[in-house]
Amino acid sequence: MGEEEGLHQAQLLRLIMPVETQEERGETASLLGEKQPLRCSLLCEAVAPDFHQVWNLMGTRSWEPLPLSDATLRSHDSWTCSPLVPEYRLWDPVHMFLTPVVPHWPFYNLDTMFVRGLKRKCFDGEEDIEGTLAGIKAIPSYNLQRQSLLDMSLVKLQLCHMLVEPNLCRSVLIANTVRQIQEEMTQDGTWQMINTQSTGQASVDRLVSTDILCRSSREQAEGKHVPGYSTFSKDFEGDQAQDSSETMSTASSVQAPRNLPSNVWEMENPQENKGNFQKSLDQIFETLENKTPNSVEDLFSEVDNSYYDLDTMLTGMMSNTKMGHCDGLESFSSPTTTTSSSNCKSDLNELDHIVEILVES
């Protein structure tokens, strides 16, 4: 399976759930409160430069419907949710805990070179259902393609070589691509939230990447709900904290798909404008200049707390391989703060172990 190689690279595990909304299918966007049927399948991918694989992350799965009053679980692969609650939880019966997963825009390939087979085991683990993304939508829209390219680029910016300085040329080229996408999306007006009536607010120029890249300490202090991508730029800065960036990239990636681009799910709180995006992109380059040991502290001071929860959970898996259901929930709901710093600094052995646990089933 190639885990050996994968483990020694900056490996990113990512849960990606392609989603087709009513909007995607050409129907009108739903009003607030109306449940939208969704068809999802789980695609787990190891992003390593050499190979593409589809893994079953953490073994068997079932979908847990959200505790909504009239939620219906229609079949294995679809359920309903409120557009206001952008969160799903994945119940892992093997390790007995709930993983928060936020649906992410489909990671389409612009070309069909690598056909993505989707493997997903049913709850009883009997069959593998294979399908292709074509089942969802034959040709992804340009916006989706562009979005997934943006996401891919941001992920790449985050991945750092373990101990050696990252290739500056590559970073510059990726950053330029990201800027290019951002500019185009700004011109398109795609940054704007389409469902302005959902929140009743004036549409805010809100870059997805803003949420993704930038997280000022002020926002942290206010405790806003911010997607896990915010860790990315900081990870890039933390070249020296290689272990931590490794851990972070693994953990944050699982949480990472809190990418809330548009119409279905709203950000609960408006974020700063796109100026932040540029700023955070610049930070990436600045840090290439100023690599001092102090930045390790900066690195941790500004990271989203909710990230740590997942990380705690994952590292907690190491110590208690059989975490009870309650433990899982508890550790998720009660964010740990300072102790998680040390978790982040766990060494590569721990990381290997974590990933091993994640993939072996």
Binding site: V47, P49, D50, F51, H52, N109, L110, D111, M113, F114, R146, L149, M152, K156, L163, V164, E165, N167, L168, C169, R170, V172, L173, A175, N176, T177, Q180, I181, D239, Q240, Q278, L281, D282, Q283, F285, E286, L288, E289, K291, T292, P293
Partner: protein, 447 residues
């Protein structure tokens, strides 16, 4: 150039392959640079483990007129060691990025080798005689008791087994903040340049504690960084002229006589973008990975991700020739971006008469373009064709649709097998092609 008469293309034959046989590639064995010396007698390779291996061509055997001399290992030495930058808490790789030979002035050979941060001048010398008959020392080196010396004799040199020694004569360090990507020796053979992502420095071969910065494109505010230097080379004849290429697909020619700091170019070579081919990846694939002057000095060649371009130094607005290396990859750019292959830095090289250019591709394929006949050929470096004097069969990649027999479809290409480094003998039709960890030597078929 050999192959005259009958308007024939060269027929390439397998000659030798160097390196481990098994598929499991040790990381340290990955070849990172290949370079013939000025006479072609010596072929140097550098690898990721910081070692330099030099092969020497056997003297031509008159009885074996159907093949040229083979290349055998001449010297192996550890050029660079891994280092640790304590200020940044980062490792400095020992991987040899470039080797450049100095022209031979005496019995010894000299070459420059560089990793990301440090350039070293190595002297490779032969020793085939040793002195014998010392008065005060025994043959094994022990000192004799002076009281036992009754006669005096003059030590004489006697032949011994050839020993090749490599010793570092100069170490040029601490001049580059970013990773060195190129070194180039000036035609005055006294100075050379070293280029990293943002700066180019000029050195004198004798002076190691000083270098002059001649190009600096680092913005005052690193946030504004959008372009880096990807390669640089001195003009083969004009000792005041050099070029450097950028990640945006531009080449700048600079004249050192104009000013001390050559931030302002004398010429800017850039081809306007083709709007029909525009995509998000346009900039990335326009990034130039290698630039090489022709031997004549009239032309220069650049390699970007999909093509090789020949530029006339007198014409800045477009190349005079463009050759597509693997155009079938254009529709696969997203996947290649995803697996980072789009950032692979392919090199290119001229043959001795500047009539053919060569570059590498994926699946261990390499391509040659004949500038006169406008014909091109794709060959494969693989151990399957390893019988000497077997003519290599041309390969073809089928872009789409029906795949003919013997063609390979794009989807079955192995993107882990890439040929990034190739070299052409300066005088003969002998080429050295580096796969991941093997070095292939091909020759033209002599009759």
């Amino acid at each position: 150039m050999a192959g005259a008469g009958g308007g024939n293309d060269i027929q390439w034959c397998f000659s030798q392959v160097k390196g481990a046989v098994d598929d499991d590639v040790a990381e340290a064995d990955i070849i990172s640079t290949v370079e013939f010396n000025h006479s072609g007698e010596l072929l140097a390779t550098g690898d990721k483990g910081g070692r330099v291996v030099i092969f020497q061509q056997e003297q031509e055997n008159k009885t074996q007129s159907h093949s040229r001399g083979e290349y055998n290992v001449y010297s192996t030495f550890q050029s660079h060691e891994p280092e640790f930058d304590y200020l940044k808490s980062l490792e400095i790789e020992e991987k040899i990025n470039k080797i450049r030979w100095l022209p031979q002035k005496n019995a010894a050979q000299f070459l420059l080798s560089t990793n990301d941060k440090t350039i070293k001048l190595w002297k490779i010398s032969e020793r085939d005689k040793r002195p014998e008959g010392y008065n005060l020392k025994e043959e094994d080196g022990r000192y004799r008791d002076p009281t036992t010396v009754t006669t005096l004799r003059v030590p004489v040199f006697r032949p011994m087994d050839l020993m090749v020694e490599a010793s570092p004569r100069r170490i040029f360090a601490n001049a580059h903040t970013y990773h060195i990507n190129s070194i180039s020796i000036n035609s005055d053979y006294e100075t050379y340049l070293s280029a990293d992502d943002l700066r180019i420095n000029l050195w004198h071969l004798e002076i190691t504690d000083r270098s002059f910065n001649i190009v600096d494109i680092k913005p005052a505010n690193m946030e504004e960084l959008t372009e880096v230097i990807t390669a640089a080379e001195f003009h083969p004849n004009s000792c005041n002229t050099f070029v450097y290429s950028s990640s945006k697909g531009t080449i700048r020619l600079c004249d050192m006589r104009a000013s001390a700091l050559c931030d302002r170019h004398s010429k800017l070579f850039e081809e306007p973008e083709d709007p029909s081919n525009r995509s998000f990846f346009s900039e990335i694939i326009s990034s130039i990975s290698d630039v090489k002057f022709s031997h004549s000095g009239r032309y220069m060649m650049t390699r970007d991700y999909l093509s090789v371009k020949i530029w006339d130094l007198n014409m800045e607005n477009r190349p005079v020739e463009t050759y597509q290396v693997h155009e079938y990859l254009r529709s696969k750019l997203c996947s290649l971006y995803e697996n980072d292959c789009i950032f692979d830095k392919f090199e290119c090289c001229w043959n001795g008469s500047d009539s053919i250019v060569m570059t590498g591709s994926y699946n261990n394929f390499f391509r040659m373009f004949d500038r006169n006949t406008k014909r091109d050929i794709t060959l494969e470096a693989s151990r399957e064709n390893n019988k000497p004097r077997t003519v290599l069969k041309p390969r073809k990649v089928c872009a789409s649709g029906k795949r003919k027999k013997d063609e390979i479809s794009v989807d079955s290409l192995d993107f882990n097998k890439k040929i990034l480094h190739t070299a052409w003998h300066p005088k003969e039709n002998i080429i050295a092609v580096a796969t991941t960890n093997n070095l292939y030597i091909f020759q033209d078929k002599m009759n």
